[in-house]
């Protein structure tokens, strides 16, 4: 008999179906590449400024030494950067407890006419590093180095 065993036939069919499925999935993920992003980074905002009054999210690092509180004690100004560009942000309200300089943030709001991002809401973004409190007196970079050394 020259016919392939039914078991092998089913296996081949399944492999073909799997390849088609993975291809479709990758294509969909690729198509969603821009739509599915939760926020824009500063260099994207600077390169293609969104039209004023369109609700967007801006995400990046709160630049060190950039947080300034207005005399009213509620309004804060800070710079959000991604290493390539910086965007000034103004926000009035309660900030999450993890909002600190040198840490990630996602600001929801809109671009003002003067190039300042006016945020209605702030979300603190945590990074992938987990460091015990005993190491907190070190700078972030030092602590990262310690973690990568001790966890090799």
């Amino acid at each position: 008999m020259s016919a392939i065993k039914p078991k092998h036939q089913r296996l081949v069919l399944l492999v073909i179906a799997l390849i088609a499925l993975i291809g479709a999935g990758l294509l969909a993920a690729w198509a969603l590449r821009n739509q599915a992003s939760y926020f824009y980074v500063p260099s994207e905002i600077v390169a293609h400024p969104p039209e004023a009054d369109r609700a967007v999210r801006l995400g990046g690092m709160v630049q060190a030494g950039s947080i300034k509180t207005d005399p009213d004690g509620v309004t804060i100004h800070f710079m959000v950067g991604d290493g390539k560009a910086n965007v000034p942000v103004v926000y009035a309200g309660i900030v999450p407890s993890l909002f600190v300089e040198g840490s990630g943030v996602v600001a929801e709001g809109r671009m003002g006419k003067d190039g300042t991002f006016v945020a209605d809401n702030l979300l603190a973004k945590h990074d992938e590093n987990y460091v015990p409190r005993e190491l907190k007196d070190m700078s972030g970079a030092q602590a990262k180095a310690v973690v990568s050394e001790t966890s090799q």
Binding site: K7, R10, L11, L14, A17, L18, L21, I22, A24, G25, A29, L32, R33, A36, S37, Y38, F39, Y40, V41, G59, V95, P96, S97, L98, F99, V100, S103, V106, N121, L122, L123, A124, K125, H126, D127, E128, N129, Y130, V131, P132, R133, E134, L135, K136, A143, K144, V147, S148, T150, S151, Q152
Partner: protein, 239 residues
């Protein structure tokens, strides 16, 4: 024929393997959680909420592991027609769904003090929620097949197609800007301090044993139901 040859061997193994897995898992996971709650250090930025990770991360891994089990068992079912594979796929659905739900709920509880929000529609959170709905769909489909006697290949195909979501969950934080942090533990390296990593890994192994024990218990349940039904049907025919 081999429906009765294989389950015998499986049952003699599962009889002692089920309680063993559950006991080992409960002891390990319980110990790791107690350590994580009482002795593990607080995180530099997150503070005490880092302790939620000892539940959230193993639950996330097992939520995805559950669907991977369904997909692999479904492939074995479709290609090799192994009856135990069908039962294994069905048995993995409930623990997978429970762990996915635990992952979503504990993640939400972690997100409120950490991010400042209970929920965001970013890539990781949305794809994980889709996984929970896929589990609901699979459980409903498998139940309908049981009741209506339709082909058991339909849930198997659904299980394989749904598996496309697993790599999407895994890669979502890399492909798309998301509020959720990128993976801390990748092959060969970790951005988690050892003080957090060890209890996390022990908790993950413990929860995996619990998962295995629950899958075995549910396989035994499904198998017993099938055998009861077959026995009653034969008796009804003989009478």
């Amino acid at each position: 024929m081999h429906i009765f040859a294989n389950p015998k061997r499986f049952l003699s193994l599962a009889t002692w393997l089920t309680p063993m897995c559950l006991v080992i898992g409960l002891v390990m996971a319980g110990g790791a959680l107690a350590y994580g709650l009482l002795y593990a250090p607080a995180d530099r930025l997150m503070g005490e909420t880092v302790r939620i990770l000892y539940i959230h991360v193993p639950a996330a891994w097992l939520g995805m592991g559950g669907w991977t089990t369904i997909a692999v068992a479904s492939i074995v079912e479709l290609v090799w027609r192994h009856p135990l594979a069908t039962i294994a796929a069905r048995a993995a659905a409930v623990p997978g769904a429970v762990f996915t739900a635990i992952c979503l709920i504990t993640g939400s509880i972690w997100g409120r003090p950490t991010w400042g929000t209970w929920w965001v529609w970013d890539g990781r959170l949305t794809s994980m929620l889709i996984l929970l709905f896929l589990y609901f769909g699979y459980i409903a489909l498998a139940g309908a097949v049981n009741r209506e006697g339709a082909s058991s290949r339909i849930p198997a195909i659904f299980g394989i197609v749904g598996a496309i979501n697993i790599p999407i969950i895994n890669r979502s934080v890399v492909w798309w800007n998301s509020l959720h942090q990128p993976p801390s533990i990748t092959l060969g390296k970790s951005a988690i301090d050892p003080a957090f990593l060890w209890p996390l890994l022990i908790a993950a192994v413990g929860f995996s044993f619990i998962f295995g024990g629950v899958v075995l218990a549910r396989m035994r349940m499904i198998l017993a139901d099938i055998q009861t039904e077959a026995r009653l049907r034969r008796k009804a025919l003989a009478a």
